[in-house]
């Protein structure tokens, strides 16, 4: 449930064009502290683009994104400071292949001088324990399974002690038998009160864990509501079509 009324990130009429293609056509959204927002929708609808705008991996064409009281869509803002507080987990894991699991997790906090090396190591080991793979600490990513790699990626993002976590289809690149272990880590994170925005095709997970579900299609939020409203009683035609296709 939504823990309180504090808005963590606030998006105001966000537009994003790639050249002549309008990918996002005016999206506004407030995400509250401790809230879990799941984003579903048809392929090409703009879900990833929207998520990537939230930490300015894509520069919005127009609109505002307020985080920590600052409009991070403003290009004069030092985005690096704010990105430290916005964790991101990618479909393809994107672990650093030339670093061990431990080094992957320690790198950013040490480089950004948030922690000294020793503290970072202790913290990294704690996080690995939390995602259930402390025994892999000194291995290189390529020797891990997909599910294990994605759990390391989650630990790496958590090492920065973020205020919010973004997930872009974190289980889509996984073999079916590994989906569960990653979703379990995410669910635990949600229960511990992490604010999360998750793009997912796992409808069961969204129904189970989300406080709010958004359907993004054609660059707009076509419908939003509680999982019950969206999955059991969708109002919008596009939601109905989408759910009919995937369920």
């Amino acid at each position: 449930m939504i823990a309180n009324d504090n808005i963590k990130i606030s998006v105001k009429s966000l537009y994003k064009d790639f050249g002549k293609t309008n990918v996002l056509n005016g999206i506004s959204l407030d995400v509250y502290e401790g809230e879990v927002v799941c984003i579903i929708g048809p392929s090409g609808g703009g879900k990833s683009t929207f998520l990537r705008c939230l930490n300015c991996l894509e520069d919005p064409t127009s609109g505002n994104i307020y985080f920590d009281g600052v409009d991070i869509a403003d290009v004069t803002v030092d985005i690096n400071i704010h990105r430290q507080k916005i964790g991101m987990v990618f479909q393809q894991f994107n672990l650093f292949p030339h670093k061990t699991v431990l080094e992957n997790i320690m790198l950013a906090p040490v480089d950004r001088k948030l922690l000294d090396k020793e503290t970072a190591r202790v913290r990294a080991l704690e996080l690995l324990k939390r995602v259930g793979i402390e025994e892999k600490a000194n291995d290189y990513p390529h020797s891990l399974s997909g599910g294990q790699q994605q759990r390391v990626a989650i630990a790496r993002a958590l090492a920065m002690n973020p205020d919010i976590m973004l997930f872009d289809e974190p289980t889509s690149a996984l073999d079916p038998e590994m989906v569960g272990e990653v979703l379990a880590v995410m669910k635990e994170l949600a229960q511990q009160g992490m604010t999360m925005v998750i793009v997912t095709h796992e409808m069961g997970f969204a129904r189970d864990v989300a406080d709010r579900v958004l359907l993004i299609a054609d660059g707009v939020i076509a419908e939003e509501g509680t999982p019950k409203e969206i999955f059991d009683n969708p109002q919008n035609k596009r939601t109905q079509d989408f759910l009919a296709a995937v369920l």
Binding site: N80, R83, F90, F96, R112, Y140, M160
Partner: protein, 223 residues
Amino acid sequence: MLEIITKFGPTLLEAMGKTLTMAFYSLIFASIIGLFFGVLAVVRNKVCNVIAQIFVDIIRGVPMIVLAYFVFFGIPYACKNIIGFNLTLSALEAGIICLSLNCGAYMAEIIRGGIQSVPKGQMEAARSLGLPYLTSMRKIILPQAIRTMIPSIINQFIITLKDTSILSIIGFPELVNSAKGVVALTFKSFQVWAIVGIMYLIVITILSKLAKVLERRLSYDRK
């Protein structure tokens, strides 16, 4: 043959030393130049990209021998007659400048290609953690790029080592120039050039072997 070796061996070895010295400094400067222009070619800034491209195009479009004459004779001449400043470049300095620029341009292309071969997600993951662009480049992208670049870089180094011989034309006493002197004294063209060829061959073979070892050392798939 044996006579030439015993008599002129030390001379030729010393000349080889000069060749290697020139190559060594050139490679260091070329690496810096290459890294600078290689990164300039990939940053998200059109002006930087164009500057890098122009540099590479100019150097690639001019034969080294012309570049050598230009640096050794042309630039000091221009300094004296236009700015009124007496610039004296030794043959070694001019040679190092030429080789550095030449090798640097090719290195820039190799480094650009290497950086672009690293999946886009690596930079995104680094940036998403709050690492600045250049830090991400240095800690995440370049260490990965370097692994794919090593064979090409070593190849380029070997070419540059061989290109030192072109600098014989501006009078630097590197191996080819010294060998010419030995031929003039002994009239034994065949033997002298065979020895010189073998000397190059030995050094370059050692370098190639070293490259192989390095390549294996740096691979993270080894375990």
